[in-house]
Symmetry: C2
Subunit: 179 residues, 2 copies
Amino acid sequence: MDTETDDVQRNRQPAREVDPIDRKILGVLVDDATISYAELGDRVGLSPPAAHERVKRLRRSGAIRATSAIIDPKAVKKPLLAFVHIDTRGWGKTPELMAISECPEVEEIHSVAGDTCMLLKVRTEDTRALEGLLSRIYETPGVVSTRSYVVLSTYLERPVQPDITAQWPAPKHMATPVY
Amino acid sequence: MDTETDDVQRNRQPAREVDPIDRKILGVLVDDATISYAELGDRVGLSPPAAHERVKRLRRSGAIRATSAIIDPKAVKKPLLAFVHIDTRGWGKTPELMAISECPEVEEIHSVAGDTCMLLKVRTEDTRALEGLLSRIYETPGVVSTRSYVVLSTYLERPVQPDITAQWPAPKHMATPVY
DNA sequence: ATAATGGCCGAATTAAATTCAGCATCAACG
DNA sequence: CGTTGATGCTGAATTTAATTCGGCCATTAT
């Protein structure tokens, strides 16, 4: 497969409509992006170069944001997952957001509708590290703690967008509930 | 790159310790899994076959769960993200869990510590579809609704495990806050 | 009608993955 | 200590896949 760095960096294209074949391609590549273009073409009914062409277009348009290895958190000793809910009423523009997004433990930051709060998804080695991260976050000016959920077991953690195609395959990348 | 389907299906190996070079490799592959083994070897200081060998081992051991295309939810018309919090006090063993994990809109299922509840991450086309999904979930015997958060903007959504290495690169796959 | 475009295919070329035959290191063991 | 076996590396050789390219067909605009 080709290096996508250039594509991702390049400015996003006019972005043609994503058609059913594109959706099939996305579905296949979410499941396994290591297959050859010959295999991909087979599965969606195209020749290898045609499949390649479409994948390049999907990358350029930004529909494929990246191709990434999905890592088992246990393997890198970050088994403790938590969802942290913070009040953002005292916030300025975005410096607080930037500060939080710099924390490598923070995987996701979402703004919640109808509530001046944010929801963070964070992953740490243990409760000690989680507490450290939380106190660092709560030290950020304007940030107020509300609730946090510490996750004990994770039963499902799919890459992204499980139902891109109509006929979605059986769930595969289930996280083993061993945390 | 090789097809990982076999590796993933094959039974997990004795699982040697993940050393610093492995961590570097994981970090590079989370960032971009489309590079060649030559490029990967360059970045971590190994020959292409050696890099290849390690990646194969990481796949076999399960440290690399999958290699997956990260899709822009907007491109597939699923811009509405929500976190759904359900009470599981009335649950039996796992049939309820299976039922929920079959829903293609459900991306993650986590069990919360100290609380008989679960946290679901779901993504739908619009509020209409979200309501439909919620009522389907709440119809499941034993499932009781507690809270849900509907996400308006997403500021950061990294693939997985941002800090595998000590020197982590700048965050890249940020979700555009446009929902 | 006809030109221009976009998307596809198959063949040809280039580049990468993969295999393989050594070689070095290290730990276990006689 | 020297030997043996296992592990992990390298560079060269081979196989496989990515990529390029010329031409074809269908759709759309002129």
